[in-house]
């Protein structure tokens, strides 16, 4: 199976985007995206787990029997998530306090099990690595986008507390757009679904326009 890198990346970021096309992993996509920084942090953590899980599964894909593959995948992913969880707790403690529970929940993020099952268990190490990266990138973009829109509408800021995630040199990202507070609803769960719905509609619109043009 020879899939070019370009196809893989295009697939992961746009055509087959985890959130905007496959519509899996919606739990973190809705729950943590109250700000752009949270979305970015969650996306990056998930990407890290996804890449390593993909590579590991691609490595061991020929020695595990099909009957027990799901438990093996789950154990692998769970170990990885535990490692990421501890790393974040140690080095990005502020972000960890925000994302806290949801880091542990990366284990049950269907996006990861989905890619491992659908792609890494049938492909070599290198394509699996690229696929994990591309899918993770698409996931991160989607989450950051949702987070930014909700943050902008809900609290009038962009990338609040970004310096805690990326270091003090990224403090310039933190923008306060308006002082009016904003619509509380966008920060609450319904806001996530509304924004996600409009993004899905927007992507479909772009796709259909592209096809007919």
């Amino acid at each position: 199976m020879s899939t070019s890198i370009k196809t893989l990346v295009k697939d992961g970021v746009w055509d087959n985007n985890v959130v905007l096309a496959q519509m899996i992993g919606l739990c973190p996509a809705a729950a943590v995206t109250t700000s752009g920084t949270n979305g970015l942090g969650m996306g990056l953590a998930t990407t890290a787990v996804l890449v390593i899980a993909n590579v590991l599964v691609a490595l061991v894909r020929n020695i595990i029997s099909p009957q027990v593959r799901i438990p093996v995948f789950v154990v692998l992913i769970a170990s990885l998530v535990t490692v990421v969880d501890m790393l974040l707790n140690a080095w990005l403690h502020e972000l960890y306090k925000v994302l806290g529970l949801f880091i542990a929940l990366i284990v049950v993020n269907c996006a990861i099990l989905g890619r491992v099952e659908a792609f890494a268990s049938k492909n070599g190490v290198w394509p699996a690595f690229v696929d994990g990266l591309a899918m993770g990138l698409g996931f991160t973009i989607a989450l950051t986008l949702i987070g930014l829109i909700r943050e902008f509408l809900g609290s009038g800021t962009l990338f609040a507390q970004a310096s805690q995630l990326l270091g003090a040199s990224f403090a310039f990202l933190e923008i306060r757009v308006h002082e009016n507070g904003g619509a509380l609803l966008m920060i609450l769960p319904p806001g996530a679904f509304a924004v996600l719905g409009f993004l899905l509609a927007g992507k479909r619109l772009l796709d259909t326009r592209g096809n007919t043009a």
Binding site: A183, L184, L185, L188, P190, A194, G197, A201
Partner: protein, 363 residues
């Protein structure tokens, strides 16, 4: 339309005559029924109320036309459309604090028309009542602006804002003076109860429920004059635009628990008259719960629907965190309406209730 469907169910064989009913005519009748209460509201709250009403209707229509253009359905209707968007905007304006800034009306119109109605497929496809969905979204998003009720001008003792000052209030350039703000009866009762005061003591200090009949009190245009809303509702009943099941259900659903609770615990539960005449209950009973699209299709279903709205309203008002619950109750029952329709089905023509064919029908 509703009445037509009702009569159609009694017609046995084709050809059928068309009653001449039109969406536009139905919408116009409902608007006519709303007019007295609205005009009374303008008199009570002055120019800002009028501007807010006008803006909300305008934006509702603009968003409707925009959505129809985007979805390629603009050809179906002219610029004024079938009037359904204007009615939605009108109902929304009736539930807003009359002196809200303009963007409340504009945003509310966007949520009602685009998010709650057109996204679901336009007129006839929406699951939730657009006006109530917008009202709840606004209330959750902007609790401060949505609870800034003003004292009716005839009572305030202050000068009514003139045309230009009224415009400035609606545009948000002048803040509403504190001397003019006041809690609505339900909000007042909720606050006093949470402070540990008994109702008898709290209500003695002001807020006589009797004022509700006349409607000279703080509130939205749709709640201030229960009497005029009731008159509009009776007009709708008389002209066959709505049927009696849903309004009766709503009123009974609130009245019965209110009577019982007030008899048991008069210090913590408001009396039945206050419940019936306060908040959006009358508006909800006659104008919101009777929405053709979002209520069940059968008469019995509508009765169940109405009872649910009424009961939930009473529960939210008495036990919930918000002083008023009609909008929440309506949305909740909207979600249950398909389920009610599944459970309560009309008898199939030519069959018994159990679905057996009727024999000896010719005898």
């Amino acid at each position: 339309m509703n009445a037509d469907a009702y009569h159609a169910a009694r017609i046995f064989a084709a050809p059928h005559a068309h009653g001449g009913g039109e969406i536009r005519r139905t919408m116009l009748r409902v608007q006519l029924a709303l007019a007295p209460a609205t005009l009374f509201g303008f008199w009570l709250y002055g120019w800002p109320a009028f501007f807010l009403w006008l803006l909300t209707l305008f934006f509702a229509q603009v968003f409707e036309v925009m959505s129809l253009r985007l979805t390629g359905n603009a050809g179906q209707v002219g610029f004024l459309g079938d009037g359904s968007a204007l009615l939605t905007g009108w109902l929304l304006a009736m539930t807003l604090p009359p002196w809200s800034p303009w963007w409340i009306g504009a945003l509310g119109a966007f949520i009602a028309i685009v998010v709650a109605k057109q996204v679901f497929g336009g007129l006839g496809q929406n699951v939730f009542n657009p006006a109530m969905a917008a009202r709840v979204a606004l209330l959750v998003s902007f609790p401060l602006q949505l609870t800034a009720w003003v004292v009716p001008l005839p009572l305030s003792g202050l000068d009514a804002p003139g045309f230009l000052d009224g415009l400035r209030i609606t545009l948000g350039q002048i803040p509403v003076p504190d001397a003019m703000t006041s809690a609505s009866l339900l909000g007042y009762a909720k606050t006093e109860l949470s402070r540990g005061l008994g109702l008898a003591q709290a209500l003695a200090a002001g807020h006589a429920p009797q004022l509700s009949w006349l409607g000279v009190r703080a509130g939205s245009m749709g709640e201030s004059s229960a009497l005029l809303i009731l008159a509009g509702g009776i007009f709708l009943l008389a002209t066959g635009v709505i049927r009696w099941q849903a309004p009766l259900g709503v009123l009974a659903g609130t009245l019965v628990p209110a009577l019982i609770a007030h008899a048991v615990a008069p210090e913590t539960c408001l009396d039945a008259a206050s419940h019936l005449l306060s908040g959006a209950l009358m508006l909800g009973a006659f104008f919101i719960a009777t929405d053709y699209v979002t209520s069940p299709a059968t008469g019995t279903g509508r009765l169940v629907f109405g009872l649910g709205v009424g009961l939930l309203t009473w529960i939210i008002r008495t036990l919930g965190g918000y002083p008023e619950g009609v909008a929440f109750a309506v949305l909740f029952m909207n979600a249950l309406a398909p389920l009610i329709d599944r459970g309560i089905r009309p008898r199939i023509l030519g069959r018994t209730r159990s679905g057996q064919p009727i024999r000896n029908a010719g005898k």
